[in-house]
């Protein structure tokens, strides 16, 4: 059990393309404070319209998805959302 008084909140935004200012198509939240319990299917409206809007609100970006070319022969396959951006916010 940590004695630190700060906790991390994590926001994941899935964007329309690889640009951070493209629009949000999906989102997930995780709350290290335990004050909220975000879960699957809990809201129909995204918290921000774009990735940059989250930056402007104080979220810090710490990971963006790599751009990986399709494997030969799998150019038309569809699978996971590709443009995943992780943000954090440290709160007391």
């Amino acid at each position: 059990m940590t004695t630190s008084s700060t906790r991390q909140q994590v926001l994941v935004l899935y964007l329309s393309d690889s640009a951070l200012d493209s629009h949000v198509v999906g989102w997930s939240r995780y709350d290290g404070t335990g004050r909220t319990s975000p879960t699957t299917g809990d809201s129909d409206e995204p918290p921000y319209e774009t990735g940059v809007a989250a930056l402007r609100d104080g979220w810090r970006l710490f990971q963006a998805a790599q751009l990986i070319p399709p494997y030969p022969g799998h150019e038309y396959d569809v699978s996971f959302l590709k443009h995943e951006f992780f943000f954090e916010r440290i709160v007391t």
Binding site: V25, T40, G41, Y76, V78
Partner: protein, 259 residues
């Protein structure tokens, strides 16, 4: 059918009459004994049984025949319950193992014997996700997607899902125990022109197949249509079908030498 190919689901609101729903609630409360994987419908559910009568309702029987044809196998069935103020939301998932059949699909019938409110946490599903090659709950990281469908429905609603559709039971924040009965069906015939195809060339078919969903990324959205065209060709037997030249131009390999 074109709408099913685009969305991956077909919803029939309140097609089950009230008296059958009342019986259904009693049957589901007692659970439905399992049957071996791959049991023909007529063997799995005897004549006159509740489930058999549910499947014989004209709209249900018609939809099932259109999607998988006559005498499908019952892959498995399960009574899903969500306790009042209990349980967590299921992670977004597809059922069974990753299934990449390009020319066949299973359907999952979901029956709701009672009215489902938003608070009761009905099934979440993601329109247009069924052709994605993802395995079971690897999509669990996705909590919400634009255009997701949080099911709210009247009693007696039946929904058919393509086996690949991303879905999950939502958290029940109400005071009411919620029931859902699921049956997965495997086709036993080729799924080609099993439905009324008299309107196959109606412009609305193209419009349905061309649908975009708000959660699609720009680039991948085009691939979704490409893959739908291939599935539509399989279902109709029309190898030349296309939308906006997508498949035609990407497969065009002329063999004639210029004179």
């Amino acid at each position: 059918m074109a709408r099913f190919v685009a969305r991956g689901s077909l919803r029939l609101d309140a097609v089950v009459p009230a008296e059958l729903n009342a019986e259904g609630l009693r049957v589901l409360a007692d659970d439905v004994p399992p049957v071996p994987y791959g049991t023909p419908v007529s063997t799995a559910y005897p004549d006159g049984s509740f489930v058999r009568r549910l499947l014989e309702l004209p709209q249900v029987a018609g939809a099932l025949h259109s999607l998988v044809g006559p005498e499908p196998w019952v892959d498995h069935h399960f009574v899903h319950t969500r306790e009042p103020h209990g349980g967590d939301a299921q992670a977004l998932h597809g059922d069974a193992v990753i299934d990449v059949r390009p020319d066949a699909f299973d359907v999952q019938l979901m029956y709701y014997p009672q009215a489902v409110t938003l608070e009761m946490g009905g099934t979440l599903s993601v329109p247009g996700s069924h052709l994605r090659r993802t395995n079971e709950s690897d999509t669990g990281r996705y909590q919400n997607l634009r255009g997701q469908d949080r099911l709210v429905c009247p009693a007696g609603t039946v929904v058919f899902l393509h086996h690949g559709l991303w879905h999950g039971g939502r958290r029940n924040d109400s005071d009411t125990l919620r029931y859902m009965f699921k049956i997965r069906f495997n086709p036993t015939v080729r799924q080609q022109r099993l439905w009324d195809t008299s309107d196959l060339h109606d412009p609305q078919v193209d419009a349905e197949l061309d649908a975009m969903f708000p959660w699609y990324e720009g680039a991948t959205g085009r691939l979704e249509r490409y893959n739908r065209i291939l599935l539509w060709r399989e279902l109709t037997g029309d190898d030349g079908y296309d939308l906006d030249h997508w498949v035609t131009r990407a497969t065009n390999r002329p063999k004639e030498t210029a004179k």
